[in-house]
Point group: C2
Amino acid sequence: METLVSAVAATLTTAAFIPQALHVIRVKETRAISLFMYVAFAIGVALWFVFGTMIGNWPMIISNAITLVLALAIIAMKLRYG
Amino acid sequence: METLVSAVAATLTTAAFIPQALHVIRVKETRAISLFMYVAFAIGVALWFVFGTMIGNWPMIISNAITLVLALAIIAMKLRYG
């Protein structure tokens, strides 16, 4: 049950960054995006990844790895589009 | 150690949404924000909150409660500014 809840939670909080990344690619504009938010968020996600490995929770490990990549992509676009 | 890592991770992934919310309030513009992202994200955060209660991890419980409020505030501003 714990694994099920965390799997669904992980899927949603990870998948959420896919439309956000695609959205920024489409509108080619990032004025409303906070760079400070995404940098702090990326570091936090990296630590959740570490925590996931500590408690051996696979949904947490995999989802945070994917979220980290998406957050870094959004940071890259923010730096490009300003 | 697990609690320390999750506490720092929780602080960062929660605190990240504070500059994002303030940023949107300041620029009064949300074109780069994906509504779909924040709705999916808010549901996911609510489930992480449930998972936190299941494993009795306080940093996860508290941080997800705060993140949920911030995500809902960003959704409200997206609906207002479009």
